[in-house]
Symmetry: C2
Subunit: 388 residues, 2 copies
C-alpha cells in the first residue's frame, strides 16, 4: 500500500502565526504561576454590549434557531444599509449586502468572486496575514506592496500602478490597517480606485476597524466607488468576536453570483448572532460603543507615549484600530528575539513584525491595547525595568 | 475606462439550486394566500433540544463570547471524542477533532487539505450539490460516479477503482446519503477504503445524518480506517441548524496543517454554539433526540407507503436521513415539470432530481419529511386528488 499523498500544495504557502508559538509559551508560563501582560491579542477585551447579548438571549428563548436565507436576515441587511445611510450618507441597496460568518466569510466570498488560479492580488506589507493566505487558498498569488512611514503604511496609487500587470485582478486595502492602525486618505483612495478600476480590476476594502478611529471618521470606500467590494465585521467595533458575524457589500450585478457562493460555502451565517446584531444599530448600543471607543483612545495615547519614552519609535501615530506598530530598532537588532525577551524576561506578550510580512519586519513589534489601563501600566512598568 | 473583469471562472460551474426557484414561487403563492405543504426543505422542523438552548443562554449570560481556539473549545473536542468512544467504540484522540462552522466548514477544511488545482474527487451522482461545488471552488474537478438501485445508490469499490486515474486524490462518501438516505454497507466501505488508500488517496466520509438511521446503527468510517477524514454536524441529528456547528476528524499527522487552515479561514467556530453543544452529549439530550429520531422514522414509513400507493416507485427504502428519493417515471416523463405541477396544482413543494446531479435526474423527486405528520397527510391527500 502506498503512503497517502502529501498535503495540498497550498499548505506550504500558508504559514503559522509566529505569535502562536509565543502565546503557547506564555500559557505555559502562566500555568507555572507567572503573571503575563497580554498585548499580543487582536480581540477587544470589552464585552459584547448588553442590549446585543439580550437580543441574542431573546432569539434563543423564541427558538429562532433555524437557517436564515443564505444572504442573511432581511431585517439585518436593511439595518446595515441604514448604517451606511446614517454614518456615511451613502446609499447601498440591502440586496447588495451579504451577512457572513465573520469578516473571514466576507473575504472568502469577495476573493472567491474575483480570483482565478494564478490571479494576482495586491496587498500591503506589513498587513494582516490571513488576507494573503485567503488569496493563496484560492490558488491566487498575493503580491506584496511594501509600505512604510513615507506613505503612512498604506499603498499609493503609484505603487499600485507600478505593480499592476497582466493577471492582476484586485487590490486589497485595509483602512484602518492591522498592524499599523493607519487610514488610507480620501484622495489616495480615489486615486487607487481610479488606477484599479481603470485597469479592469476591483478594490476590495477591509473596513472592519472603521468604528474604532480616533481622528476624523473616515469615508467608506463605497463613497469613492460603488464598484468596490467592502468587507466589514461585527467583531471589532461592535465587540461581537465569538459570535462570528460580518458582512460584505458587493457591486450591483454580483447579487446572484454571491448568493450562489454563499449558499454553497456556508448555507448561512449563525442565526443567534444575526438576531443579536439587530440590536447593534440602536442609540443605546451606539452610546455604549462610543464609550468603548473613547476607552481605546485613552489607551492608545497612554501606551504610545510610554513606548516612545522607552526608546521605541512610532513615527506614524495610528488613526484607529487597537494596535501600535512600534519600530524597535533602537532597542534590538531583531524584533522576534526582542519579543521572546519581552515575554521571558518581562512577562509581556507582544506580536513580532514577522507575522505581518517581510518588509522591515525584524524592526517592528505590534502592541495591542486590548487589555485594561492598569494592565497596560503594569506592562509599561515591566518594560521600564527591563530597559532601564 | 474598461469594464471591470468578469467573475472568476469557478462561478460558471457552481449552479444555483433549482429548488430555490420553486421555493421563491411557493413563497409568492403563500403571500397570495395559498397554503403550501413544504416537503422540499432539508432542515429538521423539530427544534434544538431545550438543554442545549439552555446551555447557550447560560454562555451568553456568563459573557463567554470571545474567540475560542481555532480548533474549538478543548472540552467540546473531548466530548466529541467521548461520543466516538461511546457510540462506536472507536478511539479518536481529541487532538484530531476540529470544531467547525457547520459541516460546510468541515468540508472546506477537508478538501482544502487534499485538493490541488485540477485534482479529481470522486462522488456519487445523485448527491448533495454543495459537495461537488466545494471541489470546484478549490479548483478541483468533481468526478461523478453514477449510482442507482443496483448498489443502493452508493458507489462500489469496483466503480471507484474504474474511475480512479492520475490526479484523483479522494473519494467522498455520504452515508446516509442526501437525497437517497441510503448507507454504505460495512463491507462495501472497507473495500472502497482499500481501493482509495491503496492508490495513495483519502476517503472523506460525510456522516452528518448518522444519528438519523432507522435500521441498525452504522459504524463510522473511522472504524474501517483511521486514515479517513470524517465530516459531521450538529445540525441534523442534534437539531442545531442555525447555530452553524460541525466537526471534522483528521488523520494523525494532519493536526498542525488543519490548525493553520482553520486559523486563516475561520479564526474559530461560533462560541455560543460551542458552549451550547456541550449539552448535546448528556443522557437527557440523548433521550430527547431518540424521540425525534422515532418521529422521523414514523414519518418515513407513513410517507413511503403513501407515495408507493400513489404510483411512485421507491425500490430502495432509505436507511436514514429525512428524505425519500422517489422514482416518478410512472407518473410523468420529466420530474422537474412534475415538481412544478405538484407546486402549482397541488400546493406541495418538493425538490426535483436535477438538483442532485445528472444520473436519472429527470426520473426522480426528493421528498423531505421535515414537516409534522398532519402536514404530510395533508400533502398526501392533495397528491391523491391530483393523481386520482
Amino acid at each position: 500500500m502506498e503512503t497517502p499523498r502529501p498535503l495540498a500544495r497550498r499548505l506550504a504557502a500558508i504559514h503559522p502565526f509566529h505569535v502562536m508559538a509565543l502565546l503557547a509559551r506564555a500559557r505555559e508560563m502562566e500555568r507555572g504561576g507567572r503573571d503575563i501582560v497580554h498585548m499580543e491579542i487582536g480581540e477587544p477585551d470589552l464585552g459584547t454590549p448588553e442590549p446585543v447579548v439580550a437580543a441574542g438571549v431573546a432569539a434563543l428563548a423564541r427558538g429562532d434557531l433555524h437557517y436564515t436565507p443564505a444572504l442573511g436576515l432581511p431585517a439585518l441587511r436593511e439595518a446595515i444599509a441604514g448604517h451606511y445611510e446614517r454614518r456615511y450618507r451613502v446609499a447601498v441597496a440591502p440586496t447588495r449586502i451579504v451577512v457572513t460568518p465573520g469578516a473571514s466569510g466576507a473575504l472568502l466570498l469577495a476573493l472567491g468572486l474575483l480570483i482565478d488560479p494564478e490571479s494576482r492580488v495586491l496587498l500591503a506589507d506589513p498587513g494582516y496575514p490571513c488576507n494573503r493566505h485567503f488569496v493563496t487558498f484560492l490558488g491566487g498569488r498575493p503580491v506584496p506592496l511594501p509600505v512604510g512611514v513615507e506613505s503612512r503604511y498604506q499603498p499609493t496609487a503609484a505603487a499600485v500602478a507600478a505593480a499592476w500587470q497582466p493577471g492582476t485582478v484586485a487590490a486589497l486595502l485595509c483602512s484602518p490597517a492591522n498592524p499599523t492602525g493607519t487610514l488610507v486618505g480620501s484622495a489616495a483612495l480615489a486615486a487607487i480606485v481610479e488606477v484599479v478600476e481603470g485597469r479592469g480590476g476591483r478594490v476590495v476594502a477591509d473596513e472592519i476597524y472603521h468604528g474604532l478611529v480616533y481622528t476624523d471618521p473616515p469615508p467608506t470606500a463605497l463613497a469613492c466607488s460603488q464598484g468596490c467590494l467592502v468587507v466589514n465585521s461585527f467583531s471589532k467595533y461592535f465587540h461581537m468576536t465569538g459570535w462570528r458575524l460580518g458582512w460584505l457589500v458587493v457591486p450591483a450585478g454580483y447579487e446572484e453570483a454571491v448568493d450562489r457562493l454563499a449558499q454553497n460555502l456556508f448555507l448561512a451565517a449563525p442565526t443567534p448572532a444575526q438576531h443579536a446584531a439587530l440590536a447593534c444599530f440602536t442609540d443605546e448600543t451606539e452610546a455604549l460603543l462610543a464609550e468603548h471607543r473613547d476607552e481605546y483612545h485613552r489607551r492608545r495615547d497612554l501606551l504610545a507615549a510610554a513606548l516612545i519614552d522607552l526608546g521605541f519609535r512610532i513615527p506614524v501615530v495610528p488613526d484607529g484600530a487597537f494596535y501600535l506598530y512600534a519600530d524597535s530598532s533602537a532597542l534590538a537588532d531583531d524584533s522576534f528575539e526582542l519579543a521572546e525577551r519581552l515575554l521571558t524576561e518581562a512577562g509581556v506578550a507582544v506580536t513580532p513584525g514577522l507575522d505581518f510580512g517581510d518588509h522591515q519586519a525584524s524592526r517592528h513589534l505590534r502592541f495591542a491595547y486590548t487589555t485594561p489601563v492598569e494592565r497596560i501600566e503594569e506592562g509599561i512598568a515591566r518594560l521600564r525595568r527591563l530597559f532601564g
